[in-house]
Subunit: 137 residues, 2 copies
DNA sequence: TTATCTGCAAACATTTTGCAGCGAG
DNA sequence: CTCGCTGCAAAATGTTTGCAGATAA
């Protein structure tokens, strides 16, 4: 008998390993191109297309977080928490801290509800300068 | 005597009038291309380039709000409130309600501070389906 | 008059897709 | 052996820029 449902089990290729590895090593958000450059520099030959495709997969499976700051380049970071959360991100170096707030979640739901909106979701990111990047230490 | 500083006083062209007019007439967020199409349809001949340039100006001066949902196309809406605020936006028709919360503002500042981040700003948008767009009314 | 605005066409930056060949299972 | 993965080149998308001519002040 075969399996009932076709589970999507990605193949273990060395490109995929390199990509999630490099991502896991960084505590900063990286663009696809930055990641690609890092891999190239470290000797791993991976196509930019593959980087994009892999990041997309990892994002869908929740293994990485994606942000679109300012609407330009997307930035990616491997995700520590399994649950829904937000980020405090350094505008300069893009180092980031994961944020959670049960109260915030409740508040956004309440706001949506109060205005007759259903199936509410939300995005929240806080930007600032981290201690290392702030001027006049 | 001439003025001390060169104030940026935009010229009153009919293109600019048409653009902010059309924008003011919509309670929904619109993309630059949608706006361009509307203007064309209503008989006003305006170049897409001008639409982009004008929207950028209006956004900088705070007359319109800009969102980059999902990181793809930017969407614009004329801004009612003068103060900092957020939006509750319908995922389907992009109708939107402006949201304000002194408490939220304080919370984000506190979070940033607690982690040693300075000069904090933030983005927050709530998405949902408005009453007209929600299925099974 | 004259500096700004307009709009076309072309440049741009980022991301996606087509397709032939490679390689994991 | 097979079918998914890879990577090149090309397409697609959304936005910006160069420049010559139109136009508000």
């Amino acid at each position: 008998m075969s399996e009932a449902s076709a589970e999507r089990v990605p193949r273990a290729t060395k490109q995929r390993a390199a990509i999630s590895g490099a991502l896991a090593d960084s505590e900063r958000f990286l663009t696809a191109q930055e990641l690609h450059a890092r891999l190239k520099r470290s000797g791993t030959k991976v196509g930019l297309t593959t980087v994009y495709r892999t990041l997309q997969m990892l994002a869908e499976s929740g293994e990485v977080d994606v942000l679109h700051p300012g609407g330009s380049e997307a930035v990616y970071r491997s995700c520590d928490a399994a649950a829904h959360h937000h980020h405090l991100v350094c505008r300069d170096c893009r180092r980031s801290v994961e944020i959670e707030s049960e109260q915030l979640e409740r508040w956004t739901d309440t706001v949506a509800d109060r205005h007759g909106f259903v199936a509410a979701s939300h995005t929240l990111e806080i930007f600032g300068l981290c201690e290392d990047c702030a001027p006049s230490r």
